[in-house]
Subunit: 627 residues, 2 copies
């Protein structure tokens, strides 16, 4: 490994890197520290042909060049093109060109990335602080650099095999009856199903580690009943604890000083789903342990998997700032506001959520560390705490993340939308997340916000069939999005069954990638250096065997695909191989019916398929055929 470590100031230990490195004696010239401004500036030249890979969970293409980004875990449910920050903060990128070099900035606060946006031939990075570790990784190409980086950040989380089954979620299935209706829907349609998710409404008034007794009169028994059928219930746990006298979790946290403080030394409070909450200080080992152990109350009831949420942390409002907003608009009562006065009074309310002033008032480690400066560690340290308490082979994935958390759980890419463009966004994030260590990953298939069409969901599934986390999830108020809800459910059955045929392949591939610090999903440009491969933004390589090129546009029955070398074009549908044809290197147009899963098998490679089953517990992973 050829890795240089540069240290500026006295960095907070993020535990992202698990190997010790000697610190270089001199910081290179392209790194400039401005102590007066309290910032570090990094400036790197870009050659006209350079491609930028990485940055994990971000908008933009596979090539990150020509845009701005921000590392600051953000609960922003509108993933429009200009957005600079999503839920994760993944500060690793590679500049690939005449020379190919990887960079990791280990800094837990905000970073601004201008990747050739304001000036096309320059990367300008601004770190909002003066303490950081910077790793520069040289190696023989992208694959080697990624492998070296993955080696120093440690082995990725590996979920149990049943977590590779098809999963159904919604905000929310509020009670037993609704969950039974969903499971019956799948059973009647003969569509495989492995899990049903419990979103926030399963709790008593959104309080972590409680269960609404009316909705689930005997939860433990119900969990067991479903497990009997091969279906697992996956409850959500949020980051904040309801501030409520007498609520045992709150009382324990308060008594033991487990919560973040405000600048006055009181427990920091802000509202989330349950109303006003306190926030466990996951950066404290004892608080983290206490919170993680709470999950055992649920595993004891038979729960084998969790998704943890709102851990950027998302804050709806603080009472102080809400009162400020009310006072502000009261001033204008009866007045004729001009346009700017009107906009600012509206903004007072729209800007209450996830407000930096609240983050700056939130303190960690007994008031010694300001949350704003270590913001990106919150979801990571929550994931770590939970993972370390959970029994082995429990499914765990998080919304917020920072490199390091890949060792403790997977992630899903948050509140996307039922937009066609988000199929492509989903595809493009897969390799960049793999680069940063995240292997158990997936987007909400079909889209979380807005209404999905039948066609959108089926086309999206034709991609999700390949993602380790294959979960259909949708928001309150949107159209029913279960695979049986659109009519002609035979098409859905055929597509989802293909997933089950691929599970032995996908599971062992993810396992191998975890063990060897490799990527499951790769840009074509990691293997092929011709122009069309380097610019390809809507196809991916999977392992050494597969290339995918899903359809991600409405009202299309086919698409063009670029083959960088000879491959076998395959379409699967249910138990059938509906198409198999060797295609030469070059551009091809392929037809893909709505009930088919298309992919390409690379030259001299074979992909094992088993027979489909109604869930993973019932899956015979014996190879039925090779394709």
């Amino acid at each position: 490994m050829n890795i240089q470590k540069f240290r500026i100031g006295k960095p907070f230990n993020t535990e992202a890197v698990i190997l010790d490195f000697p610190i270089e004696s001199a910081v290179p010239e392209y790194i400039r520290v401005d102590n007066e401004e309290g910032k570090i500036y990094i400036s790197l030249p870009l050659d006209s042909q350079d491609i930028i890979y990485g940055l994990g969970e971000q908008m933009g293409g596979i090539n990150k060049r020509g845009r701005k980004y921000r590392s600051f875990c953000s609960d922003d449910p509108y993933h429009t093109e200009e957005k600079e920050a999503l839920y994760g903060a993944h500060n690793f990128f590679i500049i690939s060109g005449k020379t190919t070099v990887g960079y990791f900035i280990d800094f837990p606060g905000q970073i601004h990335w201008d990747m050739g946006f304001m000036e096309e031939d320059k990367i300008s990075i601004t770190i909002d602080g003066t303490n950081a570790d910077i790793y520069v990784i040289s190696g023989n190409g992208e694959n080697e650099i990624v492998k070296d980086f993955r080696t120093i950040i440690g082995t990725s989380y590996m979920p149990p095999m049943w977590a590779f089954g098809y999963q159904q979620s919604r905000w929310s299935y509020p009670d037993k009856n609704e969950i039974n209706r969903i499971i019956e829907g799948y059973e009647k349609a003969g569509i495989p199903l492995d899990t049903v998710y419990l979103d926030i409404d399963y709790m008593d008034n959104f309080k972590d580690f409680t269960i609404n007794q009316k909705a689930f009169p005997d939860f433990e028994k119900y969990v067991a009943e479903l497990k009997e059928k091969g279906i697992r219930l996956i409850p959500i746990i949020d980051a904040g604890i309801k501030w409520e006298k007498g609520f045992d979790v709150y009382e324990e946290g308060a008594k033991n000083n487990y919560f973040c403080k405000d600048r006055k030394g009181n427990d920091f409070k802000a509202a989330v789903w349950p109303g006003i909450c306190c926030f466990p200080d996951y950066l404290k080992a004892d608080a983290r342990r206490w919170f993680g152990d709470k999950f055992l109350t649920l595993t004891k009831k038979g729960i084998q998997g969790f998704w943890i949420d709102m851990n950027e942390p998302a804050l709806f409002y603080s009472k102080e700032k809400y009162q400020e907003a009310v006072d502000y608009v009261k001033e204008y009562s009866g007045e004729d506001l001009n346009c700017w006065e009107f906009f600012s009074s509206r903004d007072k309310f729209t800007q209450l959520s996830n407000n930096n002033e609240d983050y700056k008032n939130m303190m960690h480690l007994d008031g010694t560390v300001c949350h704003y400066d270590v913001h990106n560690l919150y979801g990571y340290m929550m994931t770590k705490g939970v993972c370390e308490s959970l029994p082995k082979d429990t499914l765990l994935f998080s919304r917020a993340s920072y490199i390091g958390s890949h060792r403790y759980g997977g992630i899903w890419t948050g509140d996307n939308a039922s937009w066609w463009s988000h199929i492509l966004l989903n595809l493009r994030m897969l390799p960049s997340l793999n680069m940063c260590g995240y292997l158990y990953i997936g987007a909400d298939c079909g889209g979380f916000n807005n209404n999905a069409s039948r066609e959108l969901l089926l086309r999206w599934m034709q991609l999700s069939v390949f993602t380790p986390l294959f979960r259909n999830h949708s928001a309150l108020g949107t159209r029913s999005q279960e695979a049986f809800a659109f009519g002609n459910s035979e098409d859905f059955k055929k597509v989802i069954e293909v997933r089950y045929r691929l599970i032995p392949y996908l599971y062992s591939l993810v396992k191998k990638c975890a063990e060897n610090n490799e990527m499951m999903f790769k840009p074509l440009g990691f293997e092929f250096k011709d122009k069309l491969s380097l610019e390809c933004d809507d196809q991916l390589l999977i392992g050494d065997e597969i290339m995918i090129a899903p359809i991600y546009q409405q009202n299309k029955t086919g698409r063009t695909v670029y083959l960088p070398e000879e491959m076998t074009f395959v379409k699967l549908s249910g138990s059938d191989v509906t198409h198999k044809e060797t295609l030469k290197k070059g551009i091809h147009y392929i037809d893909v019916a709505i009930d088919e899963v298309p992919f390409f098998v690379r030259k001299d490679k074979k992909v094992p398929l088993c027979n489909p089953a109604k869930n993973v517990d019932n899956l015979d992973i014996t190879i039925a055929e090779y394709i």
Copy 2:
């Protein structure tokens, strides 16, 4: 012409159709009137192969199938995929398949369109009212149906030739000095320029027909000075008139009863840019005439073109509803709001703008007609009034529109964003707008909201070079977006010069399309019936001569193109023809440099080119060569 006219109830006369038709004696079964609900339902079957064209200014693809839409002129600056309504209401569509039929619903209020979304094999249209004229147009294919429809709605507006020059806008160039700086920037870079736009800040406190004297000490002289250089200033005029005692325009309107009323019979008031405004009742002939004649105060100062805005109408807030919002949130002062209480207090402020309760309180024609029921006519009737007062050959285009307004002015497609996907959105709307009569059209090149990259603007220009309105426009607070602002301005010069070379062709094509009721931009499926043409969503035919296939993705130096027949692939750059090659029918990959404009010349056709010039006044339209 084979047109059937069905009448339900007693429709409001929108003047959309200018020819008289006999009314069919019986309404067909697929139209159902529900007088109790106050709605008309239209249900049409869709064959699996059917394509839906039309609906004018809308999101979605060229094929409108599989989505929902809404006809309700809306000032919504976030053009995300799920949006159902933009600024225009264009109720004409064609179902193209085994049989091909056009439908026009002449109804001035809200219409909901489910074009095969909830059920894939069915169109379900809900008209929010029980009075409407419905036209069903049968004919030999899409082109004939469009021509027949265009014939019955009357001849499209045709702008002066200089309006085909390259145009620069921004919210805002607030004064003479800034405008001079912009013009100098173009002059120094040698980039052609025909107009500079004045957005709202040129006025005195946003008051229509006023000019900020400090910013423009001698406006008339300045207009003349710029005209001398071949540059025209294009001021904005908004729909609302500031409510201000002593402001002559307000006083005249109030005295003469020209303003819309509220339900109590007072002048209806709501806030827009100037604060509280009154709204001319453009549905009244005398008010419309009075407002139109006001423009002559500016044409007398030498102004030759206008853009009219905020005429959906956009309403920021009404005092009544603002007070309601304040009272609502005051209730919660000091309380711990739960999440729903918090969301609803925030929504009270976010839902103040363009609120239906305000539209329902706004009355036309001396209190006899509720605005909500005729909402979509407001921008249309404003355009009509202005056009009828203006001297011949004045440039006029509007943001809001309804079919009929195409006779009086062009439109631009409102507040888009500097998103790559909006290049494609721009392309896809061009043929649907042509279908509805709009020929002088264009989107804000480079995107209005958010920051543009150099590459985005250049790629967008490579499309806009072909749109009749070629205007670069950007919002307050965004990065400078002028063609000289990004460095290496030679690339911009080369692309914009190609526009000037094409002006004789484009101008005469638009003129011919206006005279013959034809489309300038056509989907490939209007001419070719093979599958790839029918599904093609990112290429267009222009006239009978050209096919375009612009690059609309970041970090690409080429793209695949489908040629439905043999064509000549041409690239122009400045005065040069950089590429010319005959390509066969089929899929091709083309390279396009950042300073080139690519297009395809159809078999046995020729496109005339003149030499570029610094503006249209200096353009020699003699043909220099044919390509």
